[in-house]
């Protein structure tokens, strides 16, 4: 019924191939073709951030990216952050600071936060709030999410001192 396209890309550090419909989103490819379900569908319109992934180091809503446009790119999902020490500290902070309730927005939030800390290591609370502006959370009221991200940043700064 619909055209398929063969693509090749790096997913969480592993080179792989996939055959995808031309109208398929990267989100659907990750969830339905690759079988990684940590990236969530929240709206399909780039409004909620639940499907945030990293593409060549940039954070993107995977629902707005065509799967075919993943060709040749380096994709990192929440599952791929398992090997990342900074992301590990973020996950631990989300747990410790109570930043998780229903948890549905959490993977996207963690991916976005890891990107934020990588690109804006000096981010203060206000900058963190702006940095996660595109990620909706209905449970927590964001306060503990901001505190969790800030704690990792503060620990980094301390650790960086001689």
């Amino acid at each position: 019924m619909s055209l398929k396209h063969d693509i090749e890309f790096t997913l969480n550090g592993v080179r792989r191939q996939a055959s995808v419909r031309v109208d398929m989103s990267a989100l659907d490819m990750l969830r339905d073709v690759v079988g990684l379900t940590g990236t969530k569908y929240g709206c399909g319109e780039g409004e909620c951030g639940a499907c945030t992934i990293l593409v060549d180091g940039k954070s993107l809503n995977s629902c707005l990216l065509f799967a075919v446009d993943c060709n040749g790119r380096n994709i990192v999902t929440i599952e791929g952050l398992a090997a990342d020490a900074k992301a590990d500290a973020l996950r631990a902070a989300f747990v410790e600071y109570g930043a998780v309730q229903c948890g549905y927005c959490t993977p996207g939030m963690v991916v976005q936060a890891s990107h934020l800390l990588a690109t804006h290591p000096q981010a203060d609370a206000d900058a963190i709030k702006r940095g996660i502006e595109g990620n909706l959370c209905r449970c927590t009221g964001y306060k503990k999410i901001v505190e969790a991200i800030a704690s990792v940043n503060a620990a980094d700064k301390q650790g960086a001192r001689p």
Binding site: M1, S2, R31, L36, T37, G38, T39, K40, Y41, G42, C43, G44, E45, E47, C48, A50, T77, I78, E79, A82, L90, R91, F94, V95, E96, Y97, G98, A99, V100, Q101, C102, G103, Y104, C105, T106, P107, V110, D126, I128, K129, R130, I132, E133, G134, N135, L136, C137, R138, C139, T140, G141, Y142, K143, K144, I145, V146
Partner: protein, 803 residues
Amino acid sequence: MNGAEKKARFIAPDTLIGKRIPKMDAPEKASGKTRYIHDIDLPGQLYGKILRSTRVHALIKSIDTAAARALPGVHAVITAADIVNQRPIGVAKDHFPLKTDKVRSLRDEVAAVAAESEQIALEALKLIRVEYEDLPILTDPAEALKPGATLIHPEPRQPGGQDALKPSGPVAFTGKPDNVAMRFDYCHGDVVQAEAESDVVVEDTFKLHYVTHCCMGVSGMIADFDSSGNLIMYSNTQVPFLHKREFAEYLNMDPARIRIIQPAIGGGFGSKLDIYPFEVICVFLAQAAKRPVKLVFTREEEFISSPTRQPVLLTLRSGCKKDGTLTFRVVNTLHDNGAYTSWGATTPFVMMQTFSSLYRVPHCDYHTTAVYTNNPYAGSFRGYGNLQATFAVEAHMDKLAEAIGMDALDFRLKNAQAQGEVTGQGMEFDSCGFKECLDTAAERSDFRRKFAENLKNRNSSDPIKHGVGIASMLHVGGGAKIYPSDGCGTILKLDDFGQVTLITGASEIGQGSETVLSQLVCEELGLPMSALTVVNNDTAITPWDVGVHASRTTFIAGNSALGAARLAKAKVLAAAARKFECPASDLDLRGGHVIKAASGEALIDLPRLMRNLHFSDKAELVMTTFYYEPPSSYQDKRYKGNVSAAYAWASQVVEVEVDTETGIVKMTRITAAHDVGRVLNRLGIEGQIEGGVVMGQGYALTESLIIENGVTRNPNFRDYKLVTAPEIPEIDITFIETMDGEGPQGAKGVGEAPAICVAAATANAIYNATGVRIYGLPFTPERVYRALHGKGEKLVPLTAKAA
């Protein structure tokens, strides 16, 4: 044993209560490993999709599914005509899952498809031809009440009780002579006399709007029949045991043959308390296709077809004496029921409590008429009518205080309920920290000083005005006696490694119930949190519970878990007493050991004792069960009674900046004081308050589901504005610990409380800033700007007769 030769080890007392305990499921969730309904697939699974009405109110003249059925990959196409004995669902049993002869709202389900893929299912929907004949549209409840209005549910009942349109099936519609879905009438005292004796009387009309839950995880389920015909549902419901019973009745099945498994739930907030058409349709599809069927909403579908918070038009008349004593309240409300009846229609159960009992009101009259229209239908949503009621009550507390020249805080303190009071409605306040909440929120926010200062600055040249407002709330905090049982069961198992499995009927919907229940058990058994495993998501395993609603889980399931833990502790200590030949009362459990209660000396570690029991001749495994039923009662026919075993109280002070040139209201700070009985998990309860406050902020400032002529105009996050991170106010929380005598470790329920008074306090803050009171929500720049320029919406008061 040679323990006597070893150096004695002493374990110091410690407690988990009040500590910051991380959520047990958080590590999995933060790693993306948690499986929600969307992440689960069964072998052989098909994908279900629903065809919804394209008309707001119309007769269905014909449905042609032939082309859809012929599409390759389609396994089943169903309409009402295909379902033998389709029954009505919902609170008033006025709702067929698949519509028979008529659609009554734009969300209505007309047909459904099960196919090999979602794409094929969507293709098939496009091939279904439906012929409609439009009927007059009713979207104003006041119009719907007028004599001669088009009837939404006019279907006549046949003499034999059958539906005239479906003689073989049970009756969905009772053939209503008017569009009234439900009425509620309550009174205590004599309001006429009380009004005559009042020095000041005020009356206003308030309009509360549509908002919706916006759970981040959209609705969905999987229905699967096993080879014996037993139904397994993977469901997001908040009420698995009620659901099981309803489905059994619905499908005419033995309830024993229905099993509900709850994967992790991406948010509830009351949205999953009723049985919905999509769930029944998913089961129909699985029956028809003889394959498992997964049916998951799109976000647009979630906005259009999920129930909303109850929109309310409300006229309140209140009075007081010059000395500040409240005299009476008369309330008339018009509830827009939408086309079908779900829990929204029953929000008066909660609303009337706020009018009759938040403050001491000697005389109170309350009337609600819930009216059918062709709008989306309203369900239950965190706070359950209390946001709407509190909005009106707290506006009048400010207005009456101003009218008699009394300080807003003093006026509230004078009329606030106190411990030991029994209200006109029969609510009994065994613990009540209301006045402490008022004092604390006011002091921590410097309310009095700021209030006076803002009044002075109202007429300054600065276009930015500052305002501060206070509002309070009363809500059930010890369950709510709505069903024959408001209880919860627990099974507790201690294994020979000292590991405990807590099997509870109470569902985890993100609120942290599994953590707080584990904490209560660990506290009782002197174990670390790591010793606990929770099973809480499978009706084939867990004992009965009435569901996650009414802020009841910590209180009810907590008492149940505590009861089972106490029984287990007694068993363990009795065994240890035999072993150490001392009275059990000399022993205690602490740090994973049996200890001497007096000295804290460790006698034996729990796993060893458990293995001793296991291998002894008088083998005894420690397994206990406990069922907790709260000491509350049904309301009588006049809505009087003590429906909850405890009540939660809160006061919140909201501070705003109002830009009078643009109408933009910025919420800068919220100071919240909550009587929660006792803090169990400080991290969890802060999270509940913060999340609730921001949900209340959305209700007050940004969120509005726009319904025009029955059409939902903004079914997406671009146009339906949830609060985002940069907009949140500073939040200051104080917990008032009143140690409720019935609560587990003294705790009361808190889940709904924080969302309830934000909008009310915000309205008062805007008034404090500008001198303009706004009677409708949300406080969008347009609404505020118009109100500031004397162009606010004029609302027609409801009279008892009109309502």
